[in-house]
C-alpha cells in the first residue's frame, strides 16, 4: 500500500477504485452492457423464434408434451389455404394504405403546428397550435382496443353517430348502412379508424424532428420569398427524411400486425373475408383449433413478410451510401 501511495502521490484516491482508472474495466463493461442484453435477447427473442421455427415443422396441438414432425406439410397446407392467402392479401392492402395515410396526416399536422403559422414575424405554428398538438396526440394515449370498441359504436348501422350524421344531412342511403358489414367498405372503415388512432403519434415524432432543423434555414427561405408549401417540401421534408423513413418502417410493421383493430371490428374476418388478417388466422388456428404447429408456420410466414418489407425500405439507402 505505501509503495502505491508513494508511486502515485498526486492521486491517493485512485487506489480505492475497482479498476485501474477508477471505473469499470473493459471486461465488466462488456459483460454488463453487451453480455446481459445479449443474454436476454437470446433467451427471450432468439430462442422463442427458434422454437417457433421447429414447431412449424410439427403437428403439435399445443396441449400435449409430444408432437410428430411433418416436414413442410404445414407450409404446403398454408399456401393451399384460401383463407390464409386472402389474409396475406388483406395485410398487404393495409400495408399499402395505412403507413402512407398515417404518415401524411401526421406530417400535415406537424407542419401545421410548427411552421405553417402567420407569414409575418418568426416562423411558428398556427394560432392555438399547443392545443391542436394535444388534441391530435390524444388518440395515441388511448389503448387500441378502446378505440376499436368506440369506433365499432361509431360505425353501428342503426345507432352509430356516423350514420346518424349522414342521414341527418339528408343522405338517406346510409340509413342502417353496415360500414363494417359490407365487403365494399369494411376494410376502408377499418383502416380509417387505424389512421385516426396512429397519426397523432407520428405528428409528435415529426414535431420533434422539425424542431431539430436549424431555424435559420426557415428564416432564409422566408426572406427568399418561399411560401408554406415550398418550405414544407424543400426544407421540412428533406430535413426529417430519416425520421419519416424510420416511422414508415414502424408503421409498416404495425400494419402487418393490426390484430387489435381487426379483431375488435370483425372477429370472424369481416364480410367475404375482406378484413381477415394473418394474425387473426394465427390466433384462431392456435387457440380455437388447437393446431399450434400450423399456427407457428403462419407466424414464420408473417415474420418473413415483415423482414422482406423492412429490407425493401432499407435497400435504397445502402445504395446511396455507396
Amino acid at each position: 500500500m505505501t509503495e502505491t501511495v508513494t508511486a502515485l502521490p498526486g492521486a491517493p484516491g485512485r487506489t480505492r477504485g475497482r479498476g485501474p482508472r477508477g471505473g469499470f474495466d473493459r471486461a465488466s463493461m462488456l459483460a454488463v452492457f453487451v453480455g446481459v442484453p445479449l443474454a436476454l435477447y437470446l433467451v427471450f427473442v432468439i430462442w422463442p423464434m427458434l422454437q417457433a421455427t421447429v414447431y412449424s415443422f410439427t403437428d403439435w396441438s399445443g396441449f400435449s408434451g409430444s408432437f410428430g414432425f411433418v416436414g413442410l406439410n404445414n407450409y404446403i397446407e398454408l399456401f393451399r389455404d384460401e383463407s390464409f392467402l386472402i389474409a396475406i392479401r388483406n395485410n398487404l392492402i393495409i400495408l399499402a394504405a395505412l403507413p402512407v395515410l398515417s404518415l401524411a396526416i401526421g406530417l400535415l399536422l406537424a407542419v401545421m403546428v410548427t411552421v405553417a403559422g402567420p407569414s409575418r414575424g418568426g416562423v411558428r405554428g398556427v394560432r392555438g397550435s399547443a392545443f391542436y398538438r394535444v388534441v391530435a396526440f390524444f388518440p395515441a394515449v388511448i389503448p387500441s382496443i378502446i378505440i376499436g370498441i368506440i369506433f365499432a359504436q361509431v360505425y353501428d348501422p342503426n345507432n352509430g353517430i356516423l350514420n346518424g350524421a349522414l342521414t341527418g344531412i339528408g343522405l338517406e342511403q346510409f340509413r342502417s348502412f353496415a360500414w363494417l358489414g359490407e365487403a365494399s367498405t369494411a376494410m376502408a372503415a377499418t383502416i380509417a379508424a387505424m389512421v385516426w388512432a396512429t397519426s397523432g403519434f407520428y405528428m409528435v415524432l415529426f414535431i420533434a424532428a422539425i424542431r431539430g432543423i436549424d431555424t435559420e434555414l426557415f428564416e432564409a427561405a422566408r426572406l427568399d420569398g418561399a411560401g408554406r408549401m415550398r418550405i414544407t417540401l424543400s426544407i421540412v421534408l428533406p430535413g426529417i427524411a430519416a425520421n419519416v423513413k424510420t416511422s414508415y418502417v414502424y408503421a409498416g410493421i404495425a400494419a402487418l400486425d393490426s390484430f387489435v383493430f381487426l379483431q375488435a371490428f370483425n372477429p370472424s374476418g369481416g364480410p367475404k373475408r375482406s378484413t381477415l388478417g394473418i394474425t387473426q388466422e394465427i390466433y384462431s388456428t392456435a387457440f380455437q383449433e388447437g393446431r399450434f404447429g400450423l399456427a407457428c408456420a403462419m407466424g414464420i410466414v408473417l415474420t418473413l413478410l415483415t423482414f422482406a418489407f423492412v429490407g425493401l425500405i432499407h435497400r435504397p439507402r445502402k445504395k446511396a451510401a455507396r
Partner: protein, 469 residues
C-alpha cells in the same frame, strides 16, 4: 425443454406398436386405456366405496381452473364447503377468462390443473386435448350424494356429444335448449303466435312489418345462430338421418333437400326484409338488445342462456319464452315439438392431474341434485341433471320454458354440436353474415358450407366423432 418431450414421443411410439387407435395424432395416445399403464395409481378403477368412489385423500387439495364470470364463481362457492364437509378436501378455484392461453403452458409442462372448466371464448376444443384427459365414464357410473346412479339422473343423449370412441372425454355440465325466444306479453298483446312452419313465419314477418317491427335480428358475432335454426328445421323435416349426414361431414350433406328447403325459407325472409338491416355490422349484444330491450325484432333463435346473458337489457314485463324451430311442411319426420339441445360448460380432468380423484369427486358432487339445483338457481340455466328445476324456475320464465320444451319434446329431443366441436369457427360466422345481409345466395351458401365440411373431413389431424343414425 426438448428432452422430456422426445421421451414422451418415444413412449408414445411404443404404445403405437400395440394400439390401433393411433390414427389420431401423436399427442392423442398418452392416456389411451389399454396402452402401457403409465400411472397405475390414476387408472379409472374405483374403490367400491360409494361414499368415496375415487378414493380422494382427506386433506388433499383440488386445483380447479374455471371460466371466470360472476355466476361460476358464486356456484363454486357452494361446492367448496361440500367438498370440505365430505372429505376435508380443499377445493381451490382459480377463475380465468382466457382458459386456453392460461392453461396451455401447464399442460405442456405436465402440471395441469386437476379440474378444468373449458368454457368461454378462450375454451380449449376437447379434441385438441383428447390424448391428455381422463375418461370420465367412472364419474357417471358412480352414485350421486343421494345414492342414485348418476347416469340414470341425466338427460339422455347429452353426454354422447363428448364421447370419443366410447371415451367420455368431458362432462358438459349445463344443458342448453335451442329455441326461438320471444316476449310472451308482446305476442299476447298483438295476438301473435310463434310460427310452426316457415310459411307462418313469413306471415308473422308481414304482421310485424305493419307494426314497424322486424321478425328477426342478428349481430356480426352471432350470425351462426341462424345456421343452427336452419339445421334444426331440416332435421325435424327429414329426421335424424339428415343430422347424421351433416354431423359426419358427408359429401354433399348441405345439399340434402331438407337443408336446401330450410336455407331457401330463410333466404325468403332475408329477401322480404324481415331482418333488421345492418346486422353484419352490429355488435351481437347490441343486436340482441334490439330484440330484448327495444323490442324492434320479434324473435331471436339462440340457446336458453339468453335470459342470463341479456341480464338487465330485457324490457320490463318481457316474459321470455321459447318456441321450437319451424318445420318446412306440416308432415315432417319429427314433430314440430322436437327440439335441439346441447351441453355447455365442459369440464375435463387432465391425465397428468396430481389429484384426479379429487377432481372426479368434485364432478360427482356437482352432478348431485342439490348442487345442480344451485347451478340452475344461480345461472337460470338447466343442467344435465333431470328434475332439479322447481316449478317456478327460480322466477325465470325462460328456464321454465326451456324445461317444458324439453319435456314436451321427450324422445324427439335431439342433441348436436358438430359446428362447435369441429373447427367451423369463424368461417361459419362470416358465411352467415354474408348470407343474412343478402350478399350471397343459397347456392353460394351451400358450396361455402360444404367446403368447410369437406376440409374438416379430409383433415386427418382432426379427431372425428362418428354420429349414428
Amino acid at each position: 425443454m426438448y428432452t422430456p418431450r422426445f421421451t414422451t414421443s418415444r413412449r408414445v411410439l411404443t404404445a403405437a406398436a400395440g394400439a390401433t387407435v393411433l390414427a389420431l395424432s401423436l399427442g392423442a395416445c398418452a392416456a389411451t386405456p389399454g396402452g402401457p399403464a403409465e400411472r397405475p395409481s390414476q387408472g379409472s378403477d374405483t374403490t367400491g366405496d360409494a361414499k368415496n368412489p375415487f378414493g380422494v385423500a382427506a386433506g388433499s387439495t383440488v386445483d380447479a381452473v374455471i371460466f371466470d364470470n360472476a355466476n361460476n364463481v358464486a356456484f363454486f362457492d357452494t361446492v367448496t364447503p361440500t367438498m370440505q364437509e365430505l372429505h376435508e378436501v380443499d377445493l381451490k378455484v382459480t377463475p380465468s377468462t382466457q382458459i386456453a392461453q392460461q392453461v396451455q403452458p401447464r399442460f405442456v409442462a405436465g402440471t395441469p390443473p386437476d379440474l378444468l372448466h373449458s368454457a368461454g371464448s378462450g375454451s380449449i376444443p376437447v379434441a385438441s386435448m383428447l390424448g391428455d384427459i381422463e375418461d370420465l365414464t367412472s364419474v357417471t357410473n358412480a352414485m350421486n350424494l343421494n345414492g342414485e346412479p348418476i347416469a340414470d339422473t341425466l338427460y339422455p343423449g347429452v353426454l354422447d356429444l363428448a364421447k370419443y370412441d366410447g371415451k367420455l372425454a368431458a362432462v358438459n355440465y349445463s344443458l342448453n335448449v335451442h329455441a326461438m325466444w320471444y316476449s310472451k306479453s308482446m305476442f299476447d298483446k298483438y295476438g301473435w303466435e310463434a310460427p310452426k312452419t316457415w310459411d307462418e313465419a313469413m306471415e308473422l314477418g308481414a304482421a310485424a312489418k305493419k307494426e314497424g317491427k322486424y321478425l328477426f335480428t342478428w349481430g356480426k358475432e352471432g350470425s351462426a345462430y341462424y345456421l343452427s335454426l336452419a339445421i334444426d328445421s331440416a332435421v325435424k323435416e327429414g329426421g335424424r338421418d339428415v343430422l347424421a349426414s351433416l354431423a359426419n361431414l358427408e359429401a354433399d350433406s348441405w345439399s340434402q333437400p331438407e337443408v336446401q328447403q330450410s336455407f331457401a325459407a330463410l333466404k325468403e325472409i332475408v329477401d322480404a326484409g324481415y331482418f333488421i338491416p345492418g346486422g353484419a355490422g352490429t355488435q351481437f349484444k347490441a343486436a340482441q338488445a334490439q330484440w330484448s330491450l327495444k323490442q324492434e325484432a320479434l324473435m331471436y333463435p339462440t340457446g336458453s342462456w339468453i335470459e342470463g346473458e341479456m341480464g338487465d337489457e330485457i324490457a320490463d314485463g318481457f316474459e321470455m319464452v321459447g318456441a321450437p324451430a319451424p318445420t318446412i311442411t306440416t308432415e315432417s319426420a319429427l314433430p314440430y315439438e322436437a327440439m335441439r339441445f346441447a351441453g355447455g360448460n365442459r369440464f375435463v380432468v387432465p391425465s397428468d392431474a396430481a389429484n384426479a380423484a379429487g377432481a372426479k369427486e368434485t364432478l360427482r358432487v356437482m352432478l348431485s341434485p342439490d348442487a345442480a339445483a344451485e347451478f340452475s338457481r344461480i345461472n337460470k340455466s338447466l343442467t344435465i341433471v333431470k328434475d332439479t328445476v322447481p316449478a317456478d324456475g327460480f322466477g325465470s320464465t325462460s328456464l321454465v320454458s326451456a324445461r317444458d320444451l324439453l319435456d314436451t319434446a321427450g324422445e324427439n329431443a335431439f342433441a348436436w354440436d358438430f359446428t362447435d366441436a369441429y373447427p367451423f369457427g369463424d368461417d361459419k360466422t362470416r358465411i352467415w353474415n354474408d348470407f343474412l345481409s343478402g350478399s350471397i345466395d343459397v347456392d353460394t351458401l351451400t358450396s361455402e358450407m360444404q367446403k368447410l365440411s369437406d376440409k374438416i373431413r379430409e383433415d386427418d389431424s382432426i379427431v372425428k366423432i362418428k354420429v349414428g343414425k
